[in-house]
Structure formats: structure tokens, C-alpha cells
């Protein structure tokens, strides 16, 4: 099975992926993890704002908007059958 790992900021709107890792270097990482962005969690890119940033994501049943600077910290895995 082919798996592609991309940054969450590159996940196209409307597609689903699974969180793989979070950049632990960033001080924002802790907060993201506390909010449920932990490895293995399914996530969906919902919509990108008219000006191109931020993007809303659906995770654990709620929606949250992240800027590229935050979503770029998260690595996700897109499974072919998810697309």
C-alpha cells in the first residue's frame, strides 16, 4: 500500500488524513497535542479562508482554524483509500 506523508498545511480542502507526528520543537506543539492533535487521529481539511489562510480542520468531532504556521508543524499520512 502506498502511503504519502505530507504536512497538514498541504492537505487539500475536503480530504481526510491521519496525523503521523508533530514537531516537538515548537512551543505550540504542546497546545496542539492537548487539543487532540495526537498521532493516529483522523483529521479532515474542511475549508480554506478566502485569502488563502487559515484553514479549518475537523478533528475529534470539532472544527478549528489553524494558520499555516501551526498546521505546518503537523505531519499527516494520506491513505489512498481515504482520498
Amino acid at each position: 500500500m502506498v502511503r504519502t506523508t505530507v504536512s497538514l498545511s498541504d492537505l487539500p480542502a475536503g480530504s481526510i488524513a491521519t496525523i503521523r507526528d508533530i514537531d516537538a520543537e515548537s512551543p505550540t506543539a504542546q497546545r496542539l497535542m492537548d487539543m487532540g492533535f495526537v498521532p493516529g487521529t483522523p483529521i479532515r481539511a474542511v475549508r480554506t479562508a478566502p485569502m488563502g489562510d487559515p484553514t479549518t480542520f475537523e478533528i475529534r468531532g470539532y472544527q478549528v482554524g489553524l494558520r499555516r504556521s501551526e498546521s505546518g508543524l503537523i505531519g499527516v499520512e494520506i491513505k489512498p483509500d481515504d482520498k
Binding site: A24, R31, L32, M33, A49, E58, V64, L66, S71, G72
Partner: protein, 757 residues
């Protein structure tokens, strides 16, 4: 009769969990707004009593986890020990169960037994969710109460429960949310280093032991703690394909917590899946649509702006006439005295200056309450974030900034919609640089006075400079402080809801009362101080006995000549009186500072009453310049003022200080004297520097030939325009690294040496 139990109740919960609604429905009107000691974060306390107990309910700032990201959230952690001795009510938005339970899990891990308010229960069950409350209690040891805080449903039994003699603890249950053994053992070892143990330690000590284990940057951590971390990582790695690194511990703990939460939820509830129903997602796709989103938002903003400031003018007119009639009443019914002058010149004008803002504030906050409650505010922030981010602001800052065009006072109050304190202060700092409607007539007046030929061109130039200053200051401050303040951008999208009258009422009541009580007093005091400066000392030694002369002239038969003379003499007297008053003395005292800008002492003096209201700059100038000419512009030219200095003076007037009312609300809303004074210095410094640069550029231009002048102006305009354009392009393109496809694997990510490849 036995005395009542006194108990402190602390509400903790996620932002948007309905904590404040629950607080409102629990306490009614008996509340007190104060500050947390040491920090300028608002503390909301209320009292409610039942037959058996008096409960002091404290609304703690909303937070997603105990690990603080902002000063507000730090309060929760700092208060937790104190709160553990009372009663902690954990407000959980059950429509967003998993994430809300994270905080609950943290609390339970620290040995706290919270009373859980399962809020928004109505939308949860409407969406098809069910929960077995008995199982929830059995597996968590916490007592759950389904509530709908917006309507007050369920709060009664919650209050009754916490008002009981002793809150019974569920002891005979297995708690699924407590720390796993490996973690507990490691935390115990960390605590041993601190000569204590888990059993004895307070919740905050337990918390800090845990955070010692997971801290992402363990710099300065002692080798013993590092060793414990290594051992823990090793223990956790057992039986796994991929070993756990010590930098992964934070992630491990968070993952483990969510695993426990998932297990609990699977055992006792069935969730609807998502908190935003499909029809709302469709609504979202229109309201935040790529092309429709911005126009819809613009229309809504236009409506809010129009009702606030245009419709608001009607009640403002009533306020005006009310103040005028009171003034008229005092004028006719009081004996001439200093007190009467104080009443008219100081108090009534001051009070009038306060009440005049009330219609604006109430109308604006009516809409803000509706936008906020309905959930649209988060969408607006979502739409506007990129633009606001270009000047270092949060998307939510757009509404206060745009309201600043109408009046800075409600705009500063509106910054409360921004949760993050740093962002809020930054927005407050920038709002006074937005030219408000009251400054417009002053500009028109000044431009018309100094440049009667083409005032609009100069006005445009002033606006342009103002905009540049605004953007520049925003970028500078966010650049300077961004690294210091750890404030992640996380914009939660709440589901759309129908606003309730009670929450709108609470917002209006709180804002209105707060404004009158807090800011009103400052504005009034400012008005009185300016009045004192302008009428004292009472006796000014005059060079000539004007009154005798006037009396003599008045006694004569009135002819055109005589009335001319009377007017002339009384003008001369007025000027001399004015020069003798403290205000003019103060102006002359600070004149040396202003001289490099080419201002005479008259301009300097006129800036002082401008503190109160910028209109007074013009009226003071007209009095001071009367002996030279009826027309200020002519008079100023006669006394050596060039169009250049006039322009510089206008620029300075525009920038040097927000009006006293804005300053008053900034002081009260920021809760920090230091910040207010700093802001004042910043405005003054900016005004000074910008004016000085403009003066120097202008002077350089004047000595050169006309074509060179044109060239330089074109150059400045082009470079300023380029600066603006670049700012926007940069923000629209975004950070190169984050949009880079290989960013996840790139080792130099987030560092400046990224090759972009």
C-alpha cells in the same frame, strides 16, 4: 438555626464550553468584576445562596488544558490548589466531548474530583447523542450534571448538589482517567527529588512533576530528572516496534490521555460524531465562501457600522439636548460663582462627554453580542485573519479596528472579543491610530484653514501617512514581541446557535455599567483637570485696565465704531487672560521641546486642550491668533507659519494623542497604568518623529527646484506604496517554509537557513 455553609466554587472549562453562561444562570445579578492579584486579568465572581449554603462562584478563565499558553490560562493553574480546597465545577461541552474531557482528565490525574457539568446537553441529545450517567460516574469518580446553561436548564440541581453539607465522594469505583502506573511511578521519583511524594503533594506540585517529565525543552533540567525520563521512555518502549524517545514523552502522555478518554466514551456514551451539523456546514460554505464570504462580511460590517454611528446619532442628539438643557438650567438658576463655572465648564461638559458615548456603545455591543453568540464572530475572524495577520493582529481584531473609524471608545471596549491578552493590548495600541469620525471635522477645519485652495489633497496625504504609521507600528510591535509571547493561533469554530436575550442583556448591562463606572470617572476627571488649567489662576495681572475701558465704552452711545472698539479691547483682554492661565504657562514651558518642529508657542498651547477633544485645538488657536487676523489661516501666515509647518502641525495633531475618553477606556480595559503611559509615550514619539521627518523632507524640497521636488514626492509615494504592497504580498504568499512540500522532512524547518528546496 445553624449557620449556613460557606463554599467557594470554581468554574473551569474550555473556551466556548458555556462557562460564562453557566456562571450567569447560577448567580443572576449578584456579581463582582475585579482583577486577579498580580495580573490584569478580569476576575468574575458572583454569589448565590440556597437554603443551606452561600456559594461564592468564581469564573476562571477558559482554557483547553492546564498547560498555560497565555497569562489568562496561567491563572487556572495558579488557582487550582486553592480551588481544590473548595469545589471545582468542570464545565464540559458535551457536544464536543472528547476534547473537553482532556481538561477533566488532567484534573482527575492530579487527584481532583470535579463536579462535571455536561453542558449543551440539548444540542447533544438533539444530534442523537446518548450518555449513561451512572457508568460515567463509575468510571471517573466524578458526578455529572446535564445542563443547558443558555436556558438555565439543569443548573438548579447542580447548585443544590454543590450546596450540600458534604459532597459525597465516589470511592468504590475504578477510575479510568487516572495516570497509568508507569507515569505515576516516574512522577513519584521526580517528587522524591523534591523531598515529597505523590500522596502528600498538592495538585500544582503534582502538575509540575508531570511537566518536568514531558517538558519539550529540558534545558537546565538536572541529570537526575533526565535519567527518570530516560527510564520512563524505556519502560514505555516495551513491546513496541518503534522505541519512544525522551522528546516524545509529551506526545505520549497526550496520546495516552486521549486513549483513556476514548475508552471511557466508548463505554458510556454514543456520540453524534461532530458538533457542527451538516446544515450548518452548508451555511459555513456560504458565509466563508471563497468569493461570497468577504462581501457578506462587508455587508454585515456595514450594517453594524451604520446602525452604531448613524442610527446612534439619534439618541446621541437626545443626550446632547439633555446636557444642553441641564447646562441652560444651571446657567439661569445659579448665582455667578466659581462653583457655577465648575458646573458648566467642568462637570456638565465632562458628564456630557461620558454619556454621549453610551448609545454608540450599547448599539455596537448589541451587535457584538449577537455576532458572538451566534458563532459568526469566529467565521469573521477566519475570513479576516490573513489581512489582520499582516499587521501582527488576530483575525478578531478586525471588528474593533473598523469600529475605530466611527469612534475609538467603543472600539477599545470591543477588543474584549479577543481572548489573547497580548493580541488585545496590541489592538488597543493600534486603535487610536485609526482616524475616528470626530477627528474628521478637525481635519476638515485644519485643512480648510491652512490650505483653502485644495484641502482634499492634503487630507488624503494625512490619511495616507496615518495608514503607513498604523501598519508600521503593528508590524514592529508584533515583530519585537512575537518571540517572547507564546500565543498559538487556534480558532475554534463553534456551532451556530440562536443568541438568547439573557446573554445579550448581560453583555449590554456589563459593558454599559462598566463603561460609566470605570471609564466615565476617568473622562470626567480629565475634563475637570483641563478646565482647572484653563481658568486658573483666577487673577491674571493685566498690562492695562481693560475692564475700566470697557465699562467706559459701554456707557457711551452704541455706534459701529464703539462696538468695534469694545470687541477689540475684549479680545485683547481675553488673550492676555489666556496667556496668564496655567494652560498657556504649561504650553510655554514645553514649547522648547516642540520648537524643532517649527511650532510657535501658540500651537504648543493649543495642543493641551486638544488632549480633551481635538476640536479644542482649533478653537484655542482662533483665540490666540485673533489679534493678527479674524481668519486663523491668514493670522498664522502673518506670524511666519509656512504651509509646510501647517502640514506638520496637522500631522502632529492627528497623531500626538488619542482623546481623553479613548485614553480612559484604554487605561481601564488594559487594567495597566504602565501600558497606558507607555502607549502615550509611543503616540507622542511617533507623532514627533513622523512630523520631524516630514518637516525635514519638506525643507529639503523647498530648497530644491520644482522638478526635483516632484521627483522626490514621486519617489516617496512609490516607496511607501511598494512597502504596503510588499506587506500584503508577503502575507498572502505566506511563510515559504510552511508551504514548502518537503517541510515535514526538512531538518532546517522553521530556521532561517532553509533553502526553500
Amino acid at each position: 438555626m445553624t449557620s449556613k455553609i460557606e463554599r467557594n466554587v470554581y468554574l473551569v472549562g474550555n473556551p466556548n464550553s458555556g462557562k460564562t453562561s453557566l456562571f450567569n444562570s447560577m448567580t443572576g445579578e449578584r456579581r463582582h468584576v475585579g482583577n486577579w492579584p498580580g495580573v490584569t486579568v478580569q476576575k468574575l465572581e458572583g454569589i448565590t445562596s440556597t437554603e443551606r449554603a452561600t456559594l461564592t462562584i468564581c469564573d476562571l478563565p477558559g482554557t483547553y488544558s492546564l498547560t498555560p499558553a497565555t497569562p489568562e490560562e496561567e491563572i487556572v493553574l495558579r488557582t487550582i490548589d486553592e480551588a481544590a480546597t473548595g469545589c471545582i465545577v468542570n464545565v464540559v461541552d458535551i457536544a464536543n466531548f472528547e476534547r473537553n474531557m482532556f481538561l477533566t482528565t488532567q484534573l482527575i490525574e492530579l487527584g481532583i474530583k470535579p463536579v462535571v457539568s455536561l453542558n449543551c446537553f440539548d444540542s447533544f441529545s438533539k444530534a442523537g447523542g446518548t450518555i449513561d450517567l451512572q457508568k460515567f460516574t463509575n468510571f471517573t469518580g466524578a458526578t455529572p450534571f446535564p445542563t443547558v446553561a443558555r436556558t438555565g436548564e439543569g443548573t438548579h440541581s447542580l447548585v443544590e448538589y454543590i450546596a450540600k453539607e458534604s459532597i459525597d465522594e465516589q470511592t468504590n469505583c475504578e477510575n479510568w482517567l487516572t495516570l497509568p502506573e508507569e507515569w505515576l511511578a516516574a512522577a513519584e521519583e521526580v517528587l522524591k527529588l523534591k523531598q515529597t511524594n505523590w500522596q502528600k503533594a498538592k495538585p500544582t506540585q503534582r502538575y509540575s512533576a508531570l511537566s518536568d517529565l514531558i517538558r519539550l525543552h529540558p534545558h537546565g533540567a538536572d541529570p537526575k530528572t533526565l535519567k527518570i525520563r530516560e527510564n520512563l521512555a524505556e519502560t514505555l518502549s516495551k513491546g513496541r516496534a518503534k522505541p519512544v524517545k525522551i522528546t516524545d514523552l509529551a506526545c505520549e502522555l497526550a496520546t495516552d490521555r486521549y486513549r483513556r478518554i476514548e475508552k471511557l466514551i466508548a463505554a458510556c456514551a454514543s456520540l453524534p460524531g461532530k458538533n457542527i451539523p451538516t446544515w450548518q456546514e452548508k451555511l459555513d460554505s456560504v458565509l466563508t465562501h471563497k468569493f461570497l464570504g468577504l462581501p457578506i462580511f462587508a455587508l454585515l460590517m456595514g450594517w453594524v457600522f451604520w446602525t452604531t454611528f448613524s442610527v446612534g446619532e439619534i439618541p446621541m442628539g437626545w443626550m446632547h439636548s439633555l446636557v444642553d438643557s441641564i447646562r441652560g438650567f444651571v446657567q439661569t438658576n445659579m448665582q455667578d460663582s466659581l462653583i457655577k463655572e465648575l458646573m458648566i465648564g467642568g462637570i456638565i461638559s465632562g458628564v456630557g462627554g461620558v454619556v454621549i458615548f453610551i448609545p454608540n456603545i450599547l448599539i455596537l455591543f448589541f451587535w457584538i453580542a449577537i455576532l458572538e453568540d451566534s458563532g459568526y464572530m469566529s467565521r469573521a475572524a477566519f475570513i479576516m485573519d490573513r489581512m489582520m495577520n499582516s499587521i501582527g493582529l488576530h483575525g478578531r481584531a478586525f471588528i474593533p479596528m473598523i469600529m475605530g473609524l466611527g469612534c475609538n471608545v467603543p472600539a477599545v471596549l470591543a477588543t474584549r472579543i479577543i481572548d489573547n491578552r497580548f493580541q488585545r493590548l496590541l489592538t488597543m495600541l493600534l486603535i487610536p491610530l485609526v482616524t475616528c469620525a470626530a477627528r474628521l471635522p478637525v481635519l476638515v477645519l485644519l485643512c480648510g484653514t491652512f490650505f483653502p485652495e485644495n484641502p482634499s489633497v492634503w487630507m488624503f496625504a494625512l490619511f495616507f501617512v496615518n495608514l503607513l504609521v498604523l501598519i508600521f507600528l503593528g508590524q514592529m510591535t508584533s515583530l519585537l514581541f512575537k518571540t517572547g509571547e507564546n500565543s498559538p493561533f487556534l480558532l475554534e469554530m463553534p456551532p451556530y446557535r440562536l443568541p438568547t436575550p439573557s446573554s445579550v442583556f448581560h453583555m449590554l448591562y456589563e459593558k454599559g455599567a462598566h463603561f460609566i463606572e470605570k471609564a466615565g470617572t476617568v473622562i470626567l476627571a480629565g475634563a475637570i483637570v483641563i478646565w482647572v488649567l484653563s481658568v486658573f489662576p483666577r487673577e491674571v495681572p493685566l498690562s492695562f485696565d481693560y475692564n475700566a475701558e470697557l465699562a467706559e465704552l459701554n456707557a457711551q452711545k452704541i455706534t459701529v465704531q464703539v462696538s468695534d472698539q469694545i470687541a477689540q479691547i475684549s479680545h485683547k483682554r481675553d488673550i492676555e487672560l489666556m496667556e496668564g492661565r496655567y494652560m498657556a504657562r504649561l504650553g510655554k514651558l514645553i514649547h522648547p521641546i516642540m520648537r524643532p518642529l517649527g511650532f510657535s508657542w501658540r500651537e504648543t498651547v493649543s495642543l493641551i486642550p486638544g488632549f480633551l477633544a481635538k476640536e479644542s485645538v482649533v478653537s484655542t488657536l482662533s483665540v490666540l491668533y485673533l489679534p493678527y487676523s479674524e481668519h486663523i489661516g491668514d493670522a498664522m501666515r502673518k506670524t511666519g507659519m509656512t504651509p509646510l509647518t501647517a502640514f506638520v502641525f496637522m500631522m502632529f495633531t492627528l497623531l500626538y494623542i488619542p482623546c481623553i475618553a479613548t485614553l480612559g477606556v484604554i487605561w481601564r480595559e488594559s487594567g495597566s497604568t504602565r501600558f497606558t503611559v507607555l502607549a502615550l509615550i509611543v503616540y507622542f514619539a511617533i507623532a514627533y518623529i513622523v512630523s520631524f521627518v516630514a518637516l525635514k523632507i519638506g525643507e529639503a524640497l523647498q530648497t530644491s527646484t520644482a522638478w526635483l521636488e516632484g521627483l522626490v514626492i514621486v519617489f516617496i509615494a512609490v516607496s511607501a506604496g511598494w512597502y504596503l504592497l510588499r506587506t500584503f504580498i508577503m502575507t498572502i504568499r505566506g511563510n515559504r517554509c510552511n508551504s514548502c512540500a518537503s517541510s515535514n522532512k526538512c531538518s532546517s524547518r522553521g530556521k532561517s537557513n532553509c533553502s526553500g528546496g
